[in-house]
Symmetry: C2
Subunit: 343 residues, 2 copies
Amino acid sequence: MTRIAILGTGLIGTSIALALREHGKADAQIVGHDKYIDVARKAKQRGALHEVADMAHEAVRGADLVILAAPLLAIQKLMEEIAPALGPDTVVTDTGSTKAEVMRWAAELLPHPENFVGSHPMAGKTDFGPDAAESALFDGTRWIIVPAVNSTERAVNTILSLADTVGAKPMFMDAAEHDAYAAAVSHMPMMAAVALFSLGRASEAWPELSVMAAGGFRDMTRLSGTDPAMAFDIAVTNRENISHWLERFASTLLDLRDRINDVDNEGDLYKILAATEFEHAGFRNGLIGREEKVGADVSAVGAFSFSDFLAGGWVSEKLREVMKDSDDRLKKLEARDRTQRRV
Amino acid sequence: MTRIAILGTGLIGTSIALALREHGKADAQIVGHDKYIDVARKAKQRGALHEVADMAHEAVRGADLVILAAPLLAIQKLMEEIAPALGPDTVVTDTGSTKAEVMRWAAELLPHPENFVGSHPMAGKTDFGPDAAESALFDGTRWIIVPAVNSTERAVNTILSLADTVGAKPMFMDAAEHDAYAAAVSHMPMMAAVALFSLGRASEAWPELSVMAAGGFRDMTRLSGTDPAMAFDIAVTNRENISHWLERFASTLLDLRDRINDVDNEGDLYKILAATEFEHAGFRNGLIGREEKVGADVSAVGAFSFSDFLAGGWVSEKLREVMKDSDDRLKKLEARDRTQRRV
């Protein structure tokens, strides 16, 4: 019988357990451990675990697969704790949101680093803890797999099978690549949400602002509700990449400010807004990633100037509509310019 | 019988009509007009309108109340068009997202500016057009009312009653105040979403980024799907305030970058993240606005330093938890500092 140990039974760990039990790993024995015993007991009550282990090293003894689903810095500590108890064939993975540091810890701390393969399930929600767990959390989401240079084929296949069993789509990446990309689409946006919320909250006008804040502000600041322990660990294990993207975002905001203030070229501002809305509609409708035809010149295209690229890509009714609308708008703006002097 | 004219039958105009008909204005005759006749016909098909008028001035003839629910710059043009057809007692309002320019246009263009009162319903969604309209769109949301200096009591009461009838909570503000606040919680976040999406989209790594983008990036960029005509009109009618808040946001992002890179004071970063998460939980749970006890020193508190203010405000189990967690974390960080040298 397969024995699976899950260390850290919060949202991710408990959801993995629920998904494994629901999707045909009925024969597996799942043992869970959490730093907070109540959290592990709650996961068991939810039907996710067969057993709760008081100590991490007890949980991994005899396990075929160990999943480290704790906050990042706790993963390091767990590796130290379980190292003496790991069997020579036990495959180990983690679910941390950054990968370079985790891969380094695994190489240093585990007795058989070749049995380690990093994971990052690209799923989550703001609510945390076992109560928020769902067996369908990973359905159709990407599960990034980061093998070490010396990972065994058996270890990699075990993690491929894990991703597949919980309903996720596996995607291979190296740790440095992963951390750079995750900073752009996940870690930096989270920090930006923290910055945006605290900017509003610190304002003297917060009593009015908070009342006026509608869905947009709520969406844009939702990630500032991330578990602070998780956010902190991400920040300190992916500093350089997050800083890089925070700087680029700040600079893009100031570029856009300049466009908004460029009263002599209002048509350019409209084109930027229309092109972005069009691109976003494609993204929202699942037109993503490697499926997309990428023109050879994409790498040379800066923010706010991808309209040419667009025209070659997704020629559609929508593009024509946007462009026609843009033309109408420009004509109107020109007409306005002719009849009004701007002050 | 009350006659109400709605000019612009997109998401907002059609939703107002549906709400009026559902919430007890069964006796009112609602006539709609849209620049695009198909859009007005669609609104009628949805049961929002009794009549469709081909021309704006036809729609307002004999109306008791005229609601200008078009994009901002179109409101200016509509005011010019309807001015000759407005009766001496017709109350006029708009639903534009910025107010200073609208109030100026009304004073200049309308024959009886004292019958004009500005409105800004703080409701919306990314989808636009009459198909997206809902009678419940305004339920429990704020409806900002901006009277002119010479608005009649009758005009103000008519708009109060309108807001109330569609299910919204009225809130009075002057135009300058409104535009400053709306820039902070609505217009700047929308522009930030545009900047964030185009930053990712313009990246060479977009094929990977778009695949990895999970709920967080989607939430943070959702507003870049705003109707470009609406976004453009907001930008050009509220330039100064939006620029101000874009600059403050950019500078807050760079401050946060500095905190993330301050390896000697990691505890401060954790405190910021924990305090923001705590504050955000309060906001998410409706602890907002003027209901809140505001300490006398709030105006002096900068971003990232409101923890002291907090302690006086919402003393709760959660605060104690966060603080205890923070203490534990700090102890651990100190322990780590003692055992490791940072490279």
